[in-house]
Symmetry: C2
């Protein structure tokens, strides 16, 4: 057993984020009433543990393989994908118009965590596909939706996002893939895209590519990018999809992790042009992409939570079994979990994972409220909150995944360095999460420039007020919480008025500081509620909240100093950077 879905913790975090009463018959989450959330999560857990988890190791060992333009997924993955599709999992969060169940982002978050913990290299396929679904729901024509979206929602076909090029990664404005208008109203694409997750594979008979490209008369930079749909197979006259489009996979990458997930180089149009259809308006492609960006970023944050959770479970399991040395006061050799230094590592892992989960689910709930709340003002505030929290959820959770999977190796000691044990794979798999869907640095810059400096500051003020309220009522660790939240308030005040370069220099420590304050207060809020409700896990939640406040969030004043006083030493260092 290397992973068991922590249903108790997920349901608890989910209910905490939803807010009290939200899952009752008259609440925002009325569709989750009567145990729907719990039942769905339990089913998702069964599927993850029984179908996805056993394929995780072989996915790593064998990996996806490439030959002559075709990609073969690891043994067993085709069968698992068929079960995924049959089980209807692909459709849960998609809109109802094209076959989705329209379940809330919050429930989808729980499922996403579980699937990715069991087998991230598999789960990343539908995860990114969900982004394509959202982009199409919002921007595609009815004809495109009818022809493609229904089959993507059902999982019959998969979908990809094609953004990155060799010269255009974080800066999409440098993109060079070219689109030409055809006489029939369609377009032809020419160019190369790299790092395309599941750009080619054998899980489904057709693959629908959403591709960013530039029209010949487009403005320079990001205002000249359009979004296109280019399927692997085009419709034939009989209504089937048998005509091969001019798009091919030229190879897959040899990566540090997620070996089961093919990362493809895609070539468009070297046989005359890939047939493509416009999604949304010309030159508005980036806006279409941003539609789904918040959700995709949150999903990557959930991948972080997922791997952190699994690493924590594995480390605790090993530390209970492995006996070395005598713990203080012990008369015989102790399980290493009894050694305070090992306990510290495990508590760091468990509490950071819980904090990251709380932030992610809070973000999902804000996304839902933005869509579901009947009060427009509340919905608008929730939308601002989702924007504010999304970069934090993405970056902090994936940083925690890196730290936690590395700590798991440390707890395993020499055994952790051996691939057979499986924890090393978690570290390798996790490492991409801080990079893709916008690097964590990009997230921090987004947080500081758009979310803190860009708006009227109301969302931030509400967030800090909420943290202060929790800290003020806390039974334990009150001083640590207070110090942490006030450090955030000070750093926030500094950033709103700092000159741009100084603000940017503090972006990463600021994001971490934000996450510490938000994570610590959410854990305390949860612990208080668990105690009040006599939750059977109340003691555990209280311990994790206290440990996090007194050992992790304690770093907050240091990060605030780094934001406020440390930026100059970044921007005034030239010799050290060889300038």
């Amino acid at each position: 057993m290397t992973y068991r879905a922590p249903l108790d913790d997920i349901v608890f975090a989910l209910r905490l984020a939803a807010g009290e009463g939200a899952m009752e018959a008259d609440g925002v989450y009325r569709d989750l009433a009567d145990g729907v959330a719990e039942q769905t999560l339990a089913e998702a857990a069964r599927f993850a543990e029984q179908v996805l988890l056993p394929l995780d190791t072989i996915g790593d060992r064998v990996g996806a393989t490439y030959a002559n333009g075709a990609v073969t997924t690891p043994p067993g993955w085709r069968e698992a994908y068929a079960q995924w599709k049959e089980g209807g999992w692909n459709a849960i969060a998609a809109g109802e118009d094209y076959g989705g169940l329209d379940l809330p982002a919050l429930l989808n978050a729980g499922c996403t965590e579980i699937w990715n913990a069991a087998n991230m290299a598999f789960a990343v396929c539908p995860l990114l596909g969900h982004g394509a679904i959202e982009a199409m729901e919002a921007h595609a024509s009815d004809a495109l939706k009818e022809a493609y979206l229904r089959r993507i929602v059902s999982g019959e076909w998969t979908a990809t996002m094609n953004l990155t090029e060799p010269g255009a990664g974080s800066d999409l404005g440098l993109m060079r893939t070219r689109a030409e208008r055809a006489d029939d109203g369609s377009y032809r694409l020419f160019g190369q895209k790299i790092f395309i997750t599941y750009g080619e594979h054998d899980l489904a008979p057709n693959i629908v590519h959403l591709v960013l490209a530039r029209l010949p008369d487009a403005p320079e930079g990001t205002r000249g990018i359009s979004l296109f749909l280019a399927p692997k197979f085009l419709p034939d006259e009989a209504g089937g999809f048998t005509r091969r489009n001019d798009v091919r996979c030229a190879g897959i990458e040899h990566k540090l992790g997620i070996h089961g997930s093919p990362t493809c180089t895609m070539i468009y149009g070297d046989q005359g042009g890939a047939v493509a259809y416009l999604v949304g308006e010309e030159n508005k492609g980036l806006a279409c992409m941003f539609t789904m960006m918040n959700n995709a970023r949150l999903s990557v944050g959930l991948q972080g939570v997922a791997l952190a959770e699994r690493a924590t479970q594995m480390a605790i399991g090993y530390a209970r079994e492995r006996k070395q040395g005598r713990a203080p006061g012990a008369k015989e050799t102790s399980a290493i979990i009894k050694h305070p230094d090992v306990a510290r590592m495990l508590l760091t892992m468990a509490s950071s994972t819980a904090a990251a989960r709380a932030i992610c689910y809070e973000t999902a709930a804000a996304i839902d409220r933005a869509h579901r709340d009947s009060d427009p003002a509340r919905a608008a505030a929730a939308n601002e909150r989702a924007s504010l929290l999304t970069p934090v959820a993405k970056s902090f959770s994936t940083d925690v995944a890196n730290e936690t999977t590395s700590l798991a190796i440390q707890v395993f000691g020499g055994m952790g360095y051996i691939e057979e044990t499986g924890v090393a794979q978690l570290m390798r798999d996790a490492r991409i999460c801080a990079i893709y869907e916008g690097t964590n640095g990009i997230q921090a810059i987004d947080l500081v420039t758009r979310k803190i400096r860009g708006g009227d500051g109301a969302a931030l003020a509400r967030e800090i007020d909420d943290m202060r309220a929790i800290a003020g009522e806390a039974d334990v660790s009150r001083e640590a919480l207070h110090e942490c939240v006030e450090a955030l308030a000070q750093a926030s005040a500094f950033l709103t008025k700092a000159e741009l370069a100084g603000a940017l220099a503090g972006a990463t420590p600021y994001l971490r500081l934000f996450a510490l304050a938000r994570g610590a207060t959410l854990l305390v809020k949860g612990a208080t509620r668990a105690q009040r409700e006599a939750n059977p896990n109340a003691a555990r939640y209280a311990e994790l909240a206290r440990f996090f406040a007194e050992n992790i969030a304690i770093a907050a004043p240091g990060f605030a100093k780094s934001v406020i006083d440390g930026g100059a030493s970044v921007n005034e260092s030239h010799a050290a950077l060889g300038e």
Copy 2:
């Protein structure tokens, strides 16, 4: 070019650690006068860059391979080892009696850093062999030295350390390998050892194993362990070494990194007993091992410095070339090094590497002074200092290696996740350093229990006084330095009087806190000296010292709080650990 030995920085750190005048004709390091240190390092760099570095990638890709008891090293490694031996590199730090050059630990530290940066999987073979040399120098009989040591020193044969067993890792007292006395005064060994680095290979015609085992009448635990020498080939009647001993390699591990280095399972005595000779006295084996432990731990710290340096160089190189986005004030697309957030990552890497290097070289200098200083009191104090600094040098440097190699991947973005780029290998290789030769947690416990609580506190008091003096004279970052050093003093005072479990719970944050204070003050000391001497790198050193003080060492008060106030939340958490 993925690595160029930073000779300027190494020589500077070496001279700083040696102390002013130490390398003159009348100083402690008189054998390094007249440019001997600089010349030796330049030669070591040439060998590393021209011979070892080109084999690093193939070592990772092909790895060491196992078949039928034999291990084949990657292509080109045999030739490189022959050059290593011919160049006399193996002998530089060994004593003169058996063919060594007896050069100081400080110079060996510089060379060790350079070799490991170029190819850690190769360099770990002589690195661990050096520990065997030291153990034999101190404890082996003259007959064993004559027969084996000379050939190990020259590099004709290699040597291994056999400590770990499946049930005995950090706790060597649980060891079960059995030794029996033979009639001729030799011994026979029976048992299994795991994780034996270069336990079998094709680089040299004989391999000399130093093996910890237990005699039938030995006391329980660590007081019943003896050290033996068991060569792969035993002497024959003609004086050759042709008789195969009863020791064999049963397999090698599939590891996260250092693939070129075979990690062997060794079976002793399944054909009647492996012939072995006692080293030192019966049941005093662990003491013999501890002889060489300080140096081996420092060497692993230097591996950390090495990989951190190489990762920093690669990241700075990439960040100068890669253009994405516009930096503040820029009119065109900028090299990413111009973005403050990227600059922060690079400065974190460069300054942490410099701090780790400074601490390691300071430790090496303390080891040298303990052996070389003509004043017995100064020598004794230096010995205490070496003991105090060694766990800090080992843990901090290897933590920095983990952090820095991971940051290098982050700077490379998606390209960093592709194995072809080479930075991912650095992260995988580095990950073992925090584990072997005593996990970093074991180091922290050693620091707190033996070095802080175990002695009279004089060495610690001298160290803190030295830090205070530097902080008090600092031109810049004085407040940050002061706060950092006083945080260390407070945490130290707490640890000396805390009950054991509470002290142990704070061991890891305390070690980090110690390293921050020591690292920050050494960087400032160096920057001041560089400015005074009009060193061409003075501006760079000043920037790194300032950045480290104002952005990294700033975490010190938080760590002190974690040590002083956070231990209770570790030791009082039971539910969270499933107890």
